[in-house]
Amino acid sequence: MPFIEEILNYGTLSIAGLEKNTGKTESLNYILNRLTINSIRVGVTSTGVDGERIDQVTRTSKPEIFLKEGVVFTTSEKHYRERKILSELLDISDETTSLGRLVTAKALSGGKVMLSGPVSTASLKRWIISLKKRYNVDLCIIDGALSRLSLASPAVSEAMILATGASLSLSIREIVNKTAYAAELIGLPLSQITGRETLLDYEQGIWTIGRDGEVCGPIFESAFTMEKRSIFRIEDGGAIYLTGALTERFLKMISTDTNLTEKELIIKDFTRIFVTPALLRNYLKKGGKITVLQKTKLIALTVNPISPNGYTLDSNRLIDELYGRVNIPVYDIKKNGYKI
């Protein structure tokens, strides 16, 4: 039984897809089905707002999540009303999404439900805390989105499973490259700066951090408004902190200045990086150091070799090549006959 045992070592797990139709929901169903619900209490939600049964873009079917008895789940009012499961309503939160308020309930029998939960990172964190505190949930599972449209970052979870596959590209090499890059970003080291938690609360701007952790700035309101050749100095041992996105423009600017390249560059989490693999690797090779305030551990990859338009890739080759590159367990959950 792949990676299920490993999951039990963590309190929060997110399942993120690199693209739509990468089989994220299948992976989630697979995990939920295999967890020994009797011994641990599981809570689940989704950060996607797109909870439709049929994928609106590609018209392929989007499965509902099957929950076993005892699982605590959070979804929107709309999807709660449409549930096909006997469940006990535990709480209605003040937070609203486009599909209504968030509703938390406990499954009283096995059944299906569509999930649509918190839409921001802060609200996702609140969800985790509230489930752990109020309902003694041992493992919170987040059905996450990695697209830049999603404001809720799956990086708040301790562990992550990444779903990839033929919907990224029809070329295996291309899939492997893209997936390996994502794995590389997820693997960026955790910053050792003092006061990590307080830094997370900063919402805007680019800041400098002194040797002893004192925060100065913001030196720019955002990477978009900074001057092309702005000058700023940071003492030895200091760092630069970006609250928003790491853009190509910013990375190019600091990579030409050896004085700055030596400094630690801190971002909130790996989802904030919007630079090409070549540029990032070039920067790291030059000796640049990029760290994150929130780090998640990638414990497995799942692949879906079927593209939305029906083309099927060689699953074994895809798995082998991915494993060869990222050195993390890779599974094709459907192909290997793991029943869902």
């Binding site: 709660y80 006997l86 006990e88 309503l89 209605i92 003040d94 009283l108 029998s109």
Partner: protein, 450 residues
């Protein structure tokens, strides 16, 4: 219909500050305050302050602190379910989410009811909703959670057993189960519908408890008082603007308290130098009047206030460019509205900052003098500030004490002479304005005098 609280929330006199400093537990309380309308009947206002005084006595006793925290924790869970209750009263059958809302409200009600019964508070009586809880908690768990429990009917229990054991075709069984659940919801609805008005009352009264605790605590936090009521004259001693006071405090500066009194029989004319705080005084008077008529604490050491039908504040910095009016035209319209209300037999509070102050001094003086004369004839509370020399009129006059030893004294004192203060040049000089400009202006003044 009178002004709603939300209509004035963003006015220049800063009532939002007071609202934002109100520590409410439930968002519902905030919505109800915003929707509330200004009270004009002194009986309503004094009733509101009687309630506030009762809560003030309650929150001021330190041994009540833990009880208040317990109440606030309960109220924190209070949700605005007015729409649910309206839907039920209009005949629609509630779903699980709505039944959950009613159950959790009823449980909050019972807890807060028990808490309040142990206190001296009499002004709010919560209904007894024990039977509603019993209806929605047939298994007697007393936990805020809800579903159509097995205990509602034996056939429901049977069919659920069959479904979970997997013996029968599930689709058919699930359909049957949903029919039974619908039947039970219908039965619950019938029993609930006769209790909806009590549940609604509970909701509103819980929000009132929340609001009154917050208002009472604000009295202490912001140094506010409960005013007394008057029919002829409004007077404040030690009046201050809470927001400005806080800004000054953060700059380690002291706020100078203002004493002011005016009556319905004659307007009050305030003269004084620029930067003397005249506009701020008018805005603070508007703020206090609204706070009074919405039943909040008043920022003063003592206050006795006349309830009015309508409040008019005309301060020059409100250019209505959206309507395409110049500052002068906008001002004329505001004053005109005020006068027509005064002539319509309403008791108004009119606060006018430098009427016609942006036009030439000759016509401006005429307009300002005439305004005072018209107001004089009406039974109205009015305060007017001016720079102009308004000589041939007898009314109460106050003067900003003004510059003393290079420091501005914002206090008001009774003015004896009728001439306008000539401090503009001194102030400009003290501000370090261009010396050539000021000295030529002084010379010009000398020429004119001759």
């Amino acid at each position: 219909m009178g002004t709603r609280f939300k209509d004035i929330l963003d006015s220049t006199f800063g009532i939002r500050f007071i609202f934002s400093k109100l520590n409410l537990s439930s968002a519902l309380s905030g919505s109800l305050i915003k929707e509330s309308r200004v009270m004009t009947d002194v009986a309503d206002i004094s009733e509101a302050y009687r309630e506030l005084a009762e809560f003030n006595n309650f929150v001021n006793l330190t041994h009540n602190n833990s009880l208040i925290e317990k109440i606030k924790i309960e109220l924190f869970e209070l949700r605005d379910i007015r729409n649910t209750l309206i839907r039920i009263s209009e005949g629609s059958i509630p779903d699980d989410i709505e039944l959950f809302e009613i159950k959790s409200l009823s449980m909050i009600n019972q807890k807060v009811k028990t808490f309040l019964e142990s206190t001296e508070i009499n002004c709010i009586k919560l209904p007894d909703l024990e039977d509603v809880i019993n209806l929605l908690d047939p298994e007697g768990n007393r936990i805020t959670s809800f579903y159509i429990y097995d205990a509602y009917s034996s056939d429901l229990k049977e069919i659920r057993k069959e479904i979970s054991s997997g013996y029968i075709e599930s689709e058919d069984a699930i359909y049957k189960m949903s029919l039974i659940e619908d039947r039970i919801r219908g039965e619950i609805y019938l029993k609930l519908s006769v209790r909806v008005s009590d549940i609604y009352e509970s909701l509103i009264n819980l929000a009132r408890v929340d609001t009154l605790i917050a208002k009472a605590r604000q009295l202490k936090d912001l140094n506010l008082i409960i005013p007394s009521h008057s029919i002829n004259s409004t007077s404040y001693s030690g009046m201050f603007n809470p927001e400005v006071k806080e800004i000054l405090k953060s700059d380690r500066k002291e706020y100078q308290l203002i004493d002011i009194e005016f009556t319905v029989s004659e307007p009050l004319l305030i003269t004084g130098s620029n930067m003397g705080g005249k506009s701020l005084t008018l805005k603070t008077l508007a703020l206090c009047q609204y706070l009074y008529q919405f039943g909040f604490g008043i920022p003063a050491r003592e206050a006795s206030i006349v309830a009015v039908d309508k409040i008019f504040l005309s301060v020059g910095d409100e250019q209505d460019y959206r309507k395409g009016l110049s500052s002068f035209a906008a001002e004329i319209k505001r004053i005109d509205n005020m006068l027509s209300a005064a002539k319509g037999g309403k008791l108004i509070l009119s606060l006018t900052d430098e009427p016609a102050g942006s036009t030439n001094p000759k016509e401006g003086t005429a307009l300002a003098t005439a305004l005072l004369k018209v107001l004089m004839k009406k039974r109205a509370l009015s305060v007017v500030t001016t720079h102009y020399n308004i000589e041939n009129i007898v009314c109460k006059r106050l003067k900003v004490v003004g510059f003393e030893n290079g420091v501005m004294n914002y206090k008001l004192s009774t003015a004896i002479d009728t001439s306008a203060p000539g401090e503009a040049l001194r102030i400009a000089e003290a501000m370090g304005a261009d010396s050539e400009w000021i000295s030529i202006a002084k010379a010009e003044l000398g020429v004119n005098k001759r």
